[in-house]
């Protein structure tokens, strides 16, 4: 199942090929300090592939905090955060924002919350390597 998503102005967009096609899509409202303030709801398909396009990299910023092991990709035009990436052992992993989805049937979403309070950094990175999208391509500067 191909899922398209984008920020509001279209500067940051993604195509997520969810393989095999999902019967439901987990939509996790994270309770970390950043996601609470952003209303962040994330999903990932570890066996899928993701292409992220940033049309104008000069108008995209990256924010990190805490363990500084993940980048939140913020569109510097419209303020939407469609993607989070984490580089682990030289490999790029990602989750995408359910809020940025386009045209996905809401009944497919299985909404829940996620709490990673107290998780150590090694466990955190191992969880991401296990659960986040592992096939990630970033394309920058292409219309």
């Amino acid at each position: 199942m191909l899922i398209n998503g984008r920020c509001h102005c279209g500067n940051i967009s993604f195509k997520l090929d969810w393989t095999p096609a999902p019967s439901e899509i987990p939509a996790r409202a994270c309770n970390c300090s950043f996601c609470v303030k952003h209303g962040g709801v994330w999903t990932s398909c570890p066996t899928g592939s993701l292409e992220v396009r940033v049309r104008e990299p000069a108008h995209a910023s990256r924010y990190e905090f805490g363990t500084k092991t993940a980048f939140f990709h913020v569109c510097a035009r419209c303020g939407v955060v469609p993607v989070v990436t984490s580089e682990i052992g030289g490999h790029l992993y990602a989750v995408v924002s359910v809020n940025a989805f386009e045209g996905v049937d809401a009944s497919l979403l299985r909404r829940g919350s996620a709490s990673f309070d107290g998780e150590g950094q090694d466990d955190r990175l191992a969880r991401r390597a296990r659960n986040w999208i592992a096939d990630v391509t970033m394309v920058e500067g292409v219309p």
């Binding site: 924010y63 905090f65 303020g79």
Partner: protein, 119 residues
């Protein structure tokens, strides 16, 4: 009075009262920003660090701008572009302590289509 900040602390926002009602709008920008709006009169809200530490986004009929911290991207509020004496603005309640808004009624607004409340 409630005082809160964006994630990095560069923008501070103060509102006079705990919101009783919040608006969860499904329009193309509100849903993407994950915002939850609490409405106040323009002169009731104090925002520091704005516009020095903020960026704004204006689109559509160009009557308002959503304002966010330039560093951490947290959306603090939307404000009318041409405020009048009784104009309102929307403070993004996501920045408030979740305990402060736990008892607020969340109303779902169909900004994407009918422009009416769905509840």
């Amino acid at each position: 009075m409630l005082r809160t900040t964006c994630h990095c602390g560069a923008v501070t926002i103060e509102v006079p009262t705990r919101p009783e009602t919040l608006c969860d709008c499904n329009c193309s920008i509100c849903r993407r920003l994950g915002a939850l709006w609490a409405y106040y009169k323009v002169d009731e809200v104090r925002v520091s660090g704005h516009p020095d530490n903020t960026d704004g986004y204006i689109w559509g009929d160009k009557t308002l701008r959503t304002v966010r911290c330039r560093t951490c991207g947290c959306v603090t509020h939307w404000e009318p572009l041409e405020p009048k004496a009784d104009s309102k603005l929307g403070v993004n309640a996501r920045n408030l302590d979740p305990a402060e808004i736990a008892s607020a009624r969340v109303r779902r607004f169909d900004g994407a289509d009918s422009w009416t409340y769905l509840d």
